[in-house]
Amino acid sequence: MGRYVALRIGQALLVVWLAYTVIFLAVQLLPGDPVTIFLSTDAAVDQATIDNMKRQYGYDQPLPVQYFAQLGGLLHGDVGYSLASGEPVAARIGGVIGSTLALALSAFATAVGLALAVVAAATLTRSAALRKLLTNLPPLFAAVPVFWLGLVLLELLSIRWGVMSLFPDGSFLSLAVPVFVLGVHVSAPIAQVLLKSIDTVYNQPFIDVLRAKGASAAWIFFHHALKNAAGPAATITGITVGTLLAGSVITETVFARSGLGAVVLQAVTTQDVPLVQGLVLLTATVFVAVNLLVDLLYPLLDPRILKSNGQGSPRALGV
């Protein structure tokens, strides 16, 4: 177990380092250095100002020096300075991340809850029609774009019925509606995978043995099927973090919420490379961290994981 954990953590750190390196190299591939790019939108800048700023941000140094200086800064939590505001990137992101985290985490909890509810209802209902309806919900959720659902709800709730303010005002609805919109979207892949793997589990002979023991449908679902099916669902949940972050940006924009979404938009439109770099690195780190968590959770769900390596059986080689 200790070996497994150490191995996974090591892999996660490696991926973050690789992500940093790729981002660094990608920036070098841009025509011109970050300062020149940033200032190119402003016509009246003389060369002296550019050189001055380059020196200040360290872009005049040779590449290896820049690479290691930035890497060293990272280890101290220093992600560089925003070109637009001169603020540290970490401070710029830290200032707004709270609001985004609140949205993303609530949406995530909603998504997991919604997926579980749909799958439980679809599995346990006796009505074939209801089951059919419920199993068709996840593909529908996946098909509805976040911005469309957001705009429709805004139109109905704010403009037609006037029960919700157009801009965030701290009321319950002004948080709940964006959370719902994002949650619905993120729940789709989780529910789809969970439905599929629940299906596979129910085709296994041990389900019949459980029924023969006298277990009710609900008992089988909650005591056995869910844990058996949780593995693939956990994997897809880790992957939906990407959807969650991208969806947060869109949702924030639609509902005019401040947060990472606004910063991302601003960083890209003003071509503020250090800020973009910091945001991409943050996304990569969150992604890796969540998937590390899923990996560490996996052996708790399925005890076979830790045993499966090594020991080549001739049957496993497959004739």
Binding site: P205, R211, A212, K213, N228
Partner: protein, 549 residues
């Protein structure tokens, strides 16, 4: 059993006119009557598709969602099980009617511990007083000990994948008997186990059924197992009961023509060894297939595992050599090394006297024109999307042999050789029966003109009567085409019928080799004796011996 009892014991379970349909009009079980007295062991025997499993499952109310009881009743101690709701059934299942399932490997929840799965029965049926954790634990340990599981305290915390198949089946038996049900349905409980394990597991099963006076419905396709363990045998075919009598009667005076055939196949009067094996004198012919000191080591470092250890044998042209042994004995690994699908760690493989151990990609391809494999499961060995003619022609296409017309002609010829009708060429695998599919697999193996076939459990997935037909086909092909067979099997009945020579494997070693009659008649090695002794069908053999002299 000669006297007529005036008042027969009231049946515990009475099935009357039961009809189960998977789709309207097509009955899997059709008008079946069956009685089960308390403490009686009844074997339901039949091929797959005979309706025996459907009948057993309808007693438990465990029919698949697509099936429906169209008519009849299942009276159990005064209630009609066919009319109960799912909720009412959960109070009967596990407590009054139990199940010991077919496939121990997949019948326990893989992500829950053994202890929790045994204890679950007591949590599901809280009769009377509540048990404390400690009492529950003691009860589970008592049950595990009862079925002969060593170190039960340790097993409690283990997961199913940490137990062998035999141990898992013991756990399932413990679960089945835990609340002392009046009726136990045993659905092919040992068909997935090796013979020696099968014997010990069935011994536990018999002992508990007697001790608790449990009535057992024992579903099996193996008449030999049925006769060894049951009081009464019910032969099913096509959803109907063909014969329902006490074991002794059915063995001595079978009435139904189908039962007679089943009995004949289950206890073959020692088949005349194929004449081809007779030596023609003169110098001994070279071996068609030979293994010399084969060793295969899997894994590395601390977890090294010698799957095959110093195995040497030779197969003369036109004869059959069988490797028998339990799963894990290394017989399949040996076969794969002979096929050159797996590289031996040490030793060499000779085909027609030529050392083929060092062959690489191209050489191997040429080798496979003369040496081919027929695999265990015809369902998965044939591409379900292709037509039979394309499946058989595929090797010809791969080797670029012949034009369209020539290939078509060769396919027709092969179909005839394996006794398949012409129109089978256009069918897809799903439209054929298991036996027909295995014929297709054999035809495909012969397509390139193979001289030797490795048959890896090639009959194991088939019913007894189908097995007999495929065996006859294999023997006919051997005579006609002078084929050499390496036959891998755990089924001693089949091995005895087809082989000239037999090799017994255990733990990667070849413990005994010799002519079939010698191995079966006068085994030298202790393990061979154990294996033969575990082979079910003692009563059948005793009977055959009594009538054949």
């Amino acid at each position: 059993m000669g006297t007529i009892t005036t008042e027969p014991a009231a049946p515990l379970l009475a099935v009357r006119g039961l009809r189960v349909e998977y789709e309207p009009g097509r009955a899997a079980v059709d008008g079946v009557d069956l009685d089960l007295k308390p403490g009686e062991i009844v074997a339901l025997v039949g091929e797959s598709g005979s309706g025996k499993t459907t009948l057993a499952r309808s007693i438990l109310g465990l029919l698949p969602a697509t099936a429906r009881i169209a008519a009849g009743s299942i009276d159990f101690d005064g209630t009609d099980l066919a009319g109960l709701t799912e909720k009412q059934l959960t109070r009967i299942r596990g407590r009054r009617i139990g199940l010991v399932p077919q496939d121990p490997g997949a019948s326990l929840d893989p992500v829950r511990t053994i202890g929790s799965q045994v204890a679950e029965v007591f949590r599901l049926h809280r009769d009377g007083r509540r048990r404390t954790r400690r009492e529950l634990r003691a009860e589970v340990i008592r049950l595990l000990t009862m079925v002969g599981i060593d170190r039960p305290e340790e097993r409690l915390r283990q997961y199913p994948h940490e137990l062998s198949g035999g141990l898992k089946q013991r756990v399932l038996i413990a679960i089945g008997f835990s609340l002392r049900p009046q009726v136990l349905i045993a659905d092919e409980p040992t068909s997935a186990l090796d013979v020696t394990v099968q014997r010990t597991v069935l011994e536990v099963f018999d002992r508990l059924a007697k001790e608790f006076g449990t009535a057992v419905v024992f579903v099996t396709h193996d008449l030999a197992v049925a006769t060894d363990h049951a009081d009464r045998i019910v032969v099913m075919r096509g959803g109907r009961i063909r014969e329902d009598r006490a074991v002794a009667e059915i063995l001595s005076r079978p009435e139904d023509e189908y039962t007679v055939r089943l009995l004949a196949e289950a206890a073959p009067a020692r088949a005349a060894a194929p004449a081809a094996s007779a030596e023609e004198g003169g110098p001994a012919p070279a071996f068609a297939l030979e293994a010399r000191g084969l060793v295969k080591v899997f894994g590395r470092g601390g977890i090294e595992h010698r799957a095959v250890d110093a195995v040497s044998f030779g197969v003369r042209p036109g004869t059959t050599f069988s490797l028998v042994g339990e799963s894990g004995s290394g017989k399949s690994t040996t076969a794969r090394m002979l096929m050159r699908l797996l590289d031996p760690t040490e030793g060499s493989v000779l085909v027609d006297g030529r050392d083929v151990t060092g062959l690489d990609g191209r050489g191997k391809r040429d080798l496979w024109r003369t040496l081919q494999l027929v695999y265990q499961n015809p369902d998965s060995a044939l591409d379900p999307r292709l037509r039979i003619r394309d499946i058989i022609a595929e090797p010809l296409l791969n080797f670029g042999l012949g034009d369209r017309a020539a290939r078509r002609e060769r396919v027709a010829e092969l179909l005839e050789q394996v006794n398949l009708p012409d129109h089978a060429a256009a069918a897809r695998p799903m439209e054929l029966s298991g036996g027909q599919r295995q014929r297709v697999a054999i035809a495909r193996a012969l397509a390139l003109g193979a001289k030797a076939l490795v048959l890896d459990e090639a009959l194991s997935a088939l019913d007894v009567l189908t097995q007999a037909q495929i065996l006859a086909l294999l023997q006919e092909l051997q005579r006609e085409l002078k084929l050499t067979y390496l036959f891998i099997s755990h089924d001693l009945h089949v091995v005895e019928r087809i082989s000239d020579q037999v090799g017994v494997m255990r733990g990667g070693r070849l413990v005994e080799t010799g002519p079939t009659a010698g191995i079966f008649g006068d085994p030298q090695h202790e393990y061979t004796r154990l294996l033969l002794d575990s082979n079910p069908g003692h009563r059948l053999r005793g009977l055959a011996g009594a009538t054949n002299h």
